[in-house]
Symmetry: C2
């Protein structure tokens, strides 16, 4: 991620290899009928809370599973397992994002045909995960109301590569003076056709719409 | 930031070069009597709000300036300039952290002898900035109460390389059910001798202690 020619060349090679691996994964997912949804955000934006609530509800109607990436600890995997869904941790060490080869390895031993919807929760990082295709069908960026409405402008690539923006922690919107119209303007400026949903995993606000979007986008019957 | 041997080698060379440049910067800062404080955090943790309030108050007693890194936009530089202090933006494009060469370039035209305290606000990222020495005398990690008490365990390197942790947005502590004791335990587990301060740039809570720490740590008369 440096500007010197040799580094650019190495990075382009990495991304090219990742793209090839991700294309292979995407074919496998499609062949198995597995819909894959990836989730990216800053650290602490509420990905794990959203995903735990999502797994809990969605598994009543379809077979779900999750992979979750972290530099260290398996805190998030433990939280996700509370949903009852199969969950695997990917510990990345110092690596600041998931890549397609990590996904491929983490899937060993799972039968994709037994999974209708697979979620992939990335390392908390609004920069580097943007460049790594994981073979997902839908990329979702979560942004909490506490982070500031300017984030889409300041981290354009991650918003530009996402299909859906989920605005999390809506229960704190009043406490932080959240300006919904300003965020919408900034999202549209970066990604004109992005779908935006407001949710709170704590109060349940917006969860029906989120699950409806998931089940329709990934081709399942709405729950 | 990949595990393959060639990438590790390239990355080690980059870090070695960065370390050399940073050591040179540190010597220049010391010779000029400029104390340099760097600030790292997740996106949206409140670095810019904290720094704007800090610059505003500190410049009454000493000559301050700031460099601020962002992938895109000069929103943060504009906000910091409201303090009246000299501010320069470093636009990193797709680069997820500041490095010593960016600092060196951004300083061209400034006379270090005219700056008592120089702040460097990094790109919002809890992973990659950890590895890049910028020649600073003090590295401060900001962590907002909305992000979750587990962050030191999940992003150990950035907390382990910081001298001070500033817990921001304390005005939201009650609204999010913030567990101060749990955060302290997790901070100490990763970095036993870290100094921890609770602040709110919005209400002013803890700002006196923060300014006192800054002025004593950087060898200035307390303001």
């Amino acid at each position: 991620m440096m500007s010197r020619p040799r580094i650019v060349e190495v990075r382009q090679n990495i991304l090219k290899k990742n793209d090839l691996l991700a294309a292979g994964l995407r074919e496998r997912f499609q062949a198995a009928g597995t819909s894959v949804v990836s989730l990216v955000s800053s650290p602490g934006a509420g990905k794990t809370a959203l995903l735990t609530a999502t797994l809990t509800r969605l598994q009543k109607d379809c077979r779900v599973a999750a992979l979750v990436g972290d530099l260290a600890t398996d805190c998030d995997a433990e939280r996700l397992r509370a949903s009852g869904a199969p969950v695997r941790q990917i510990t990345t060490g110092t690596v600041c994002h998931l890549d397609a080869s990590m996904i491929e390895t983490a899937l060993i031993g799972w039968t994709l045909e037994d999974i209708d919807v697979l979620f992939i929760e990335n390392v908390g990082n609004l920069v580097c995960p943007a460049s790594y295709d994981l073979g997902e069908a839908l990329r979702v960026v979560a942004l909490s109301v506490t982070e500031g409405e300017d984030k889409p402008l300041k981290y354009p690539t991650i918003f530009n590569t996402a299909d859906v923006a989920v605005v999390t922690k809506m229960d704190l919107a009043d406490a932080v003076g959240f300006d919904r119209a300003a965020l919408q303007r900034n999202l549209i400026a970066v990604r004109p056709d992005i779908t935006v949903l407001d949710v709170s995993a704590r109060t349940g606000q917006g969860m029906d719409e989120w699950l409806h979007l998931l089940t329709t986008q990934v081709g399942r019957t709405p729950v």
